[in-house]
């Protein structure tokens, strides 16, 4: 873990009309670590990552990537700068095969008589390569529609789509294990560790403290739109984090 954070959010405030969803929130994430964000419903977790991924623009506050101030006007901007997210819904088109999903909106083409034609063969081999090399996942069939895959396999396809972008440096994962059984959850956590080992900053939003303590290096606790604490996972306990979430305990960050 280096000294300068890869991504830093400073003094982020977000208001929707009269409602303050975030007030003066700081967040730091380092390359090669998993930062978990926990908090009760309405604590501002989702708003925070939507600001980070360019979906929302902050009312106040600044975001720094590698020490440089950055501003996004859209989610596409954030992807361009190397910050992407995997949503809980995964945003997969279930009727398309995994390769089509992985390259959705970013298809590979070849030129036939000067007309760009989708290169389905190359997209398939690239998908196979990325799934194997980056995530260690091998699908039985790349021809079946995505709806026939298991929850964990679908997750792998969604993650593969994010990591295919070579410039990706920060990956936000919103409740990746919420809809999965114990086995699939274990596999997804393994994927997260693999991504961390590759030097990405992984920001994990989760309601499951078991998962958080299994994979994260640090835990950022949100409560009522504020950051109420950041703890090192190794030095902390479920009890302490739970106390922060419900407000029984205060730690100055």
């Amino acid at each position: 873990m280096t000294d300068t954070p890869l991504v830093q959010m400073r003094g982020i405030t977000k208001r929707f009309g009269g409602v303050t969803a975030l007030s003066d929130v700081n967040l730091e994430a380092y390359a090669g670590e998993v930062l978990a964000i926990v908090g009760d419903n309405g604590a501002g977790k989702s708003t925070l990552i939507k600001v980070l991924t360019g979906v929302y623009q902050p009312t106040e506050g600044e975001i720094f990537l590698d020490g440089n101030k950055i501003t996004f006007s859209s989610h596409a901007d954030a992807i361009e700068q190397g910050i992407d997210a995997v949503y809980q819904t995964l945003a997969l088109a279930d009727h398309l095969d995994p390769a089509a999903n992985m390259f959705l909106g970013n298809e590979l083409t070849k030129s036939v008589f000067g007309i760009p034609v989708l290169d389905n063969k190359r997209m398939k081999s690239e998908t196979e390569r990325v799934l194997m090399d980056r995530l260690g996942v091998q699908l039985k069939s790349l021809d079946a529609p995505t709806e026939s895959l298991s929850g964990g396999q679908r997750q792998a396809v969604a993650i593969a789509r994010a990591v295919y972008h070579e410039g990706l440096r920060v990956l936000v994962m919103d409740e990746p294990t919420a809809a999965l059984g114990p086995q699939e959850t274990a596999r997804t956590l393994k994927l997260i560790k693999a991504l961390k080992a590759q030097g990405l900053a992984v920001i994990l939003i989760s309601h499951s403290l078991d998962d958080v303590f299994e994979v994260s290096d640090r835990v950022h606790v949100q409560r009522r739109g504020r950051r109420v604490g950041v703890v090192n996972t190794a030095d902390s306990s479920t009890q302490e984090v739970l106390g922060l979430i419900i407000g029984a305990e205060e730690v100055t960050a």
Partner: protein, 372 residues
């Protein structure tokens, strides 16, 4: 996450091919039935030619409608687009002396523009596609009536009649070539182009498509433009086939084409497209209608048959795609459930009342009034 070992049940493995198996089985059924009942007249070369000629007219529209329906849309205005572009083309040729080689492309471009209007109404003004295209159907039909005022425009240059009913000696009719070419083009468009890929993505999961940066609205408009152009091409082919056009031509194009596409396994709920299925669906409907004619069944039964085929195939596909149907336990169990019982009593009441009314009417019947 590596390999799944449990074997898939047969229905699951067949599912990807259902689209083509369904219409194929029905085509086979018609062939067998007609082979048993009326083989001499049905399987004559001239009759097979008629079937193909009829099917060819619907092929371009079925191709485009496959895209529209896959995007969870629908276009009810195609009959009127075909008639209006045909009428305008006819006026260009007959009244203003336009060359037929210019008038035909004009008609197709007009259709594309009408499709563009449909698309913009749906995406910009947020009018639901069903209402939007239904209303535009009235508008385009109205313009056709205003322009033609009940006239039948007939006798066109050879180029147009060749498009509509020309025959390559010893081979298939020219419109069949045109229709098949559009279907093949549509297949390539669906599997090899951005537009085809995004069409499936939009129908499968519009939010995901939007999130991955696909311009959902623009691709919807593209589909309606393609639909309009295909409908106008059908209008041109129809004009050539009959060597005549009038404002009331092509009245039921929309339902016929939607039926063909849906029978072919393209899902009305979006995301599932089958170009080969649409091709088979068009053939199936033409064979069915031709069979009705061959059997000397009154023309008006056509509409009954088409409707029954639409309802039957949509219900069948929905039933087959329902994953958790094993819990339901069949029709009898459904009838015995409390909800089923209530519905049964309600239906019995309605039908009983109707029968009673007929009985009263019959008992109290007096002299008949001639309508004339």
């Amino acid at each position: 996450m590596t390999t799944q070992t449990h074997p898939q049940p047969l229905t699951e493995r067949l599912e990807p091919y259902i689209a083509i198996i369904g219409p194929m089985v029905m085509i086979l059924a018609i062939l067998l039935f007609m082979g048993a009942v009326e083989p001499a007249r049905y399987f004559r070369t001239s009759n097979l030619n008629l079937i193909l000629l009829d099917a060819a007219l619907y092929m371009p529209m079925a191709m485009a409608m496959t895209f529209v329906i896959t995007q969870r849309g629908i276009d009810l205005s195609i009959g009127s687009i075909a008639a209006l572009s045909g009428i305008i083309m006819a006026f260009m040729i007959k009244q203003y002396g336009f060359s037929v080689y210019v008038a035909v492309p004009i008609a197709i471009m007009l259709g594309a523009v009408m499709g563009l209007i449909n698309g913009l109404i749906i995406t910009r003004f947020n009018v639901p596609d069903l209402i939007g295209t239904l209303a535009m159907d009235l508008v385009y039909r109205g313009f056709a009536l205003v322009l033609a005022k009940g006239l039948v425009l007939a006798r066109f240059p050879d180029f147009l009649t060749d498009i509509g009913r020309g025959q390559i000696p010893g081979f298939v009719p020219i419109p069949v070539l045109i229709g098949t070419a559009t279907m093949i083009g549509g297949y390539l468009l669906l599997t090899r182009s951005y537009f085809g890929r995004y069409t499936i993505a939009i129908g499968s999961n519009p939010e995901a498509a939007e999130l991955t940066g696909i311009s959902v609205n623009r691709h919807k408009v593209f589909a309606y433009v393609l639909m309009g152009a295909a409908a106008a091409l059908a209008g041109v082919m129809l004009t050539g086939k009959l060597n005549a056009i009038q404002a009331t031509s092509a009245p039921y194009f929309n339902l016929h084409v939607i039926a063909a596409v849906v029978v072919g396994g393209t899902s009305l709920f979006g995301g599932r497209a089958s170009m080969i299925g649409s091709f088979a669906g068009v053939l199936l409907l033409s064979m069915m209608i031709n069979a009705l004619v061959t059997l000397r069944i009154e023309f008006f039964w056509q509409s009954v048959a088409s409707g029954a085929v639409i309802v039957g195939s949509v219900a069948l596909y929905t039933w087959m795609q329902k994953k958790d149907r094993d819990g339901a336990g069949g029709i009898m169990a459904a009838l015995q459930s409390p909800g089923g019982q209530k519905m049964l009593r309600f239906s019995a009441l309605l039908i009983g009342t109707l029968i009673a009314l007929f009985a009263i009417g019959g008992l109290t019947a007096g002299d008949t009034l001639p309508s004339g």
